[in-house]
Structure formats: C-alpha cells, structure tokens
Amino acid sequence: MTDIILTNQPLSQTACMDFVAQPESGGVCVFTGNVRNKTKGKPVLRLEYEAYAPMAYSEMQKIADSIVEKWPNTYMAIHHRTGTLQIGEAAVIIAISAPHRGAAFEACQYAIDTLKETVPIWKKEIFEDGEVWVSAFP
C-alpha cells in the first residue's frame, strides 16, 4: 500500500505516519528533507522546485514497487513538494512501516537515495546575488 503525492502545498509528517500505521507494522521510519539555510557556507534565501509531474509520479511508483518486492509487508508514503519553499520547510517526507525496524530503516534509506537519482524533480537555490539549478553544472 502506497501513497504518493506531489504537491505545491505544505507537507504533513502526521499524514504520512498515519497512512503507514498498520496493525502488523512494528517499525516506522520517517525521513524528512528540509530546506537548509546555506550551501557550502553561502546563505540560501529559498528554493524553487520544479517537476515533470507525470514521470515523477511513475518513477516514485517504481521505487515503491521495488521496495515492496525487496522488503515484503511494507507500507509507504512518499510526499514531495513543488514550487517555492522557505528555509526549514519540508521538501520531501518518506514514511515506511515494516513488521520490524531493520526493513523500515533500510527501505527508507533506499527510497530517498533512489528518489534523488531517478525522479525528475529539480531544485533551484536562490541566493542574494543569483540563482543556480542544483547539480546541473560542474
């Protein structure tokens, strides 16, 4: 059971945790990625997220499918923001429940690591003196 959301509205940890709370789930792992106030020491004013939405959904669904295959009886919520985010706001929340903690930890790490490689979502850092798409150029 999977809940995948891409939204320009603030994310809710409670919504993610509620979704994965199941009677057979003994372990719940939640990862939240927040907007940091600096990058390599340089102050960041805000971030702007853009997504290729239909493909972002299908790539997140692939992550969910492979998690259920690797770690049976897991439930997960993957919620990702788009649009303009201020410092401290959650850009992504991944909650995964499993019968035991080991699978919950491993699946959660796998989910965020894979999301960062395969899901077509981009963030632009806005500085006082300019802006840059993260990881785009050397």
């Binding site: 997220y49 239909p54 850009a91 395969t118 077509p120 981009w122 798409w133 050397p138």
Partner: protein
C-alpha cells in the same frame, strides 16, 4: 533524398533555461533517434554540453541509447535531477 521531421521537446530546469522555453520544436533528419536529438541540440545550443548529464525521456520513461523517435512521442530533456 534526405527527409526531416519536426519534434516537440519538453525541457525542464537547467535545460529549459538553455532552450529559453519549456517547449521547443526541433527539426531532425529521419529516422530520428535520441542520439541524433542530443547531437542536434548540443550543436544548436552549445551550453547543453556543459550540463553534468542530459538524459532523454520518451513517453515518460528514460530512453535507451539510440532509441528511435516518432513525431507523436512525448520527448523530454532531463538534466541532472535534484529532488529531495
């Protein structure tokens, strides 16, 4: 006799900035593939070469190397992703 066809390309993030638009028409010699698309783009927009990576998605899936393209495909340029 060589023929060409026009393809609509979606672009995101840094690739969109380089093209100056989220949607661009590009003329490619037939039969077109993802490789001939990338080659043409890099020739027309040299800034594309500077990207750390540039993948092509066809109909919402990352394309294979040298995948054939048809004019009705939804073709998208995927610069390095940075979600999370």
């Amino acid at each position: 006799m060589s023929t060409t066809a026009s393809y609509t390309i979606l672009a995101f993030a840094a690739a969109k900035d380089i093209l100056g638009n989220s949607k661009t028409q590009i003329e490619l010699p037939s039969p077109a593939t993802t490789d001939s698309l990338l080659k043409a783009l890099k020739a027309q927009y040299p800034e594309m070469v500077r990207l750390n990576s540039l993948r092509v998605a066809v109909n919402g899936e990352f394309a294979e190397v040298n995948q054939p393209l048809t004019a009705t495909d939804e073709i998208a340029l995927i610069p390095p992703v940075s979600g999370g």
